[in-house]
Symmetry: D3
């Protein structure tokens, strides 16, 4: 059996990549134990790769702000599920399970966040994110007010909306290149010891 | 009468911005005669500003490739109209009119590209872009084949799809911050001498 | 370059038309400086032409009532944009700019009236018109009450709803015949002196 | 029990109406045995009444053309059902049953014309009408070609499309005024002797 | 003229059916005067036939509970109309007219229950049923509370929701086999004496 | 921490249930190692429980026919995902993984069967099932022909369509009662040895 195709486009070999991109990929591999396919698929276009991960990191890895890392991943999972993006649901679902130390939450949020085992403020956060993702033109002052009622600041609202907006891009890039999630992601965070790792 | 609000978020003063961002904005002002609001609105978040424009430039300003600059702007106008993003329709509609030297094409493409005064290959290009923007999950080999039938390479397909994906992000950021198009954009490229410029 | 096609159907010559229709067309030409294509396209069917413009005039040109002429045109632009009718958006957008003495309002209303620079009562008026146009079956007493809260009478509600209903017809006729907006409309009301004319 | 409300708006008394409108209504009453509510509801606005029925008659009562009267009514029933307009479904369903001498066809066409007991050319006619009614912006040359393949001329296509367009108006007027179908319509054309009449 | 096809699948002869199914069909024929096509169409699969009618009877024929038989039929008609299922609209519309002793209510409920001549509590019941049928995933505590406000118990809510759920199955089976409503149903309950039978 | 709620309705104790239902539940518990919540949730209504599982077994457990058990579960997962039914996606996803001996296929099919690692005939099967589930009224001879082209008989088509129809019911019952999937299901069929079992 041959390895499954992970992108419609050529996937560069690690040794052919610019130094900064290769370093980034090696660091991820070191941490995760494997290279998530999004890195090699997007490395086909180095300038876009750099901008993509710079945006990603500015939103998902920044210190501070009113959102936990698990909450940011919830936004990714909920909006990516609305866009039917397998790569993002599976990869970020794994990360969400690990951050939340909860093996059920990713599947719950992907299918229907309103009935998931999450806090009311997280449901309000996801309602805002889904509106940005799916009906952005209808966004109004009342949506910001709804977030404030749960203790979110307007800077948190930017974070929530910008994550939803960034994954609107990300989901479409995954669809464009036919990005396949690594098999490893499907099980991550589901087995008892993983959440404690 | 007070100046209209251009963003829900604070708009930084030019002198308070990091040097690289200030330089970029001054360069745009030099060229366009005014500062498009997207620059000051997104400058509220310097790291995101840098990633956003790095991505933008990698797609919209790169040399080579099979798409003219006017064609890239058509993609922006068509997909932004599908998302009802006033800022992107008006600002990029202006740029499209100028690049295409055609005062009618932006309004035509915004309402219905299928009946616009454009070439069949441009309609095929926009069909692909709209599918990425609105129904990305349904993208299949037949869509790439349809582009090839019009002489587009798979690298062109990436360009088309990535522009659609990037403006999926951009439209949502504009909705999030309530970005207002500068008044100047509405008339640009419509008056007789502009098309000849 | 040949003249663009303005209708899928034969366009009658002015001298071949019945006297009442020819007079009407000459009067419009006198006033506007050109003959809007809707007149020649629909003149292919004189009986329908007469009924169409009789209905149009009863709604759009009647004296009195609670709606200004600019407000009536807002209804046309908003509902025609929802139906993606290029002819009506462009032609009535031009008239709206002139009546409102505002070069920006037509594009704003076409994309999203909720965020346009118009009055709250005008947004309520357009909400009612859009419901008639797109979800007429759901119209209920609460919609009439919402108009009354902004000072509209029930006769005003009829005017708003009937304009939306008439342009539901008009948009579909334009689609049926493939009606092309005259080039002149695109610029009308955008240049500084026009609004003052 | 009081008489049910037939319109949200005042219904004029016959003796208060202009002579031409009163005559028209009396003629209908003579023929049908009762006054269909659309006549009294729209008589609230005489100028609109006249234009409405002038348009109606130009399409529905003209002599010649490639459509039978039953076929014209099929278009009304199918498109009005898509718009959930009770008045038009019930009133024109009755007329369709009588013209077609078929007690089943109106309900069949209202629910799903594709599976109705009608001819293939009638299904093609309704497919065109439904596209004008619901997705007019997508209408293209291929739709006209599909009609020609069933023997329809382009003038027939105008008739089909214009009837669909006119009832787009009519359905919305019925929703606006809350028009109630006369009880008589529900049974017309269903009882054994009616089809033989 | 040959008899119309009532199912895409073979229709068993009465004498070839298992005894329990034949008895059931004979009992229905005795009562209704004809055999509704659903019985012979589904008899093609005896095990499914038995389960189908066991479920049907548990919901539609049980004694007690807070819903009248006419109200249960309203649920069938409203949700089947939303699914465009001709068999269920026509057959259960007939039963509804008879139970309600009202020749108009079935057509009203099929087109738009919100404007039908029914009680506010019945509109609340149908709003719940339509949500189960069309947007079940959004069902929440507020929907049960809305029913309670009209005097429905939570067991009534189960009945309402389960009838909507069962006809979601039934509508799809009718579409699958292309089930044709018996001609007799179209007129049942419409002629003056029928409601009194 | 209290046990999570598994149904909006009272859940009967095993010892209070009729003998046939208790036996069925004990048999399932014996086989699966736990009692899936659908059994206790629906046992609140014994008559409906019996009909529900009789229908289920007639479709999902019958011997023979052209569908493997894994294929039947694919239909359940794909259509339940389209309906956003967490219970059915998670529970039947587990069963699908086990039957297919494939830890990835359930998530793939739930998000987008067209890009899943399944055979072309299985994609054709799911296309038919999705049409029955979501657009049943549009089902036509061409859909049966598409199945035949992949070797399915018309009896197989009934199986496919009836499973889709039955889970249209099942999904809505799960939404109605707020059915919660057992925690055990989330991991079933994902761990290395399960696929080899």
């Amino acid at each position: 059996m041959t390895a499954p195709v992970i992108s419609r486009y050529p996937v560069p070999r690690l040794e052919d990549l610019p130094e900064d991109i290769r370093s980034r990929i090696l660091a991820v591999q070191e941490k995760a134990g494997f290279v998530p396919n999004v890195f090699v698929a997007l490395a086909h276009r180095p300038a876009e790769f750099r901008a993509f991960f710079a945006f990603h990191d500015a939103l998902m890895e920044k210190e501070g702000g009113g959102l936990t890392k698990a909450e940011r991943e919830m936004i990714v999972v909920a909006t990516s599920a609305a866009n039917d993006c397998l790569y993002c649901i599976v990869a970020h679902g794994a990360i969400l399970r690990i951050y939340a130390k909860n093996p059920l939450v990713a599947d719950q949020v992907a299918v229907n966040y309103r009935h998931a085992d999450i806090m009311p403020r997280q449901k309000a956060m996801l309602a805002f994110a889904m509106k940005v993702s799916l009906h952005g033109k209808d966004l109004g002052d009342e949506d910001f007010a709804a977030l404030r009622a749960h203790g979110f600041t307007d800077e948190d609202a930017w974070d929530i909306g910008a994550i939803a907006a960034f994954f609107a891009l990300s989901n479409r890039m995954a669809h464009l290149v036919g990005m396949r999630p690594n098999d490893e992601f499907f099980l991550m965070g589901r087995v008892p010891k993983a959440p404690r790792a």
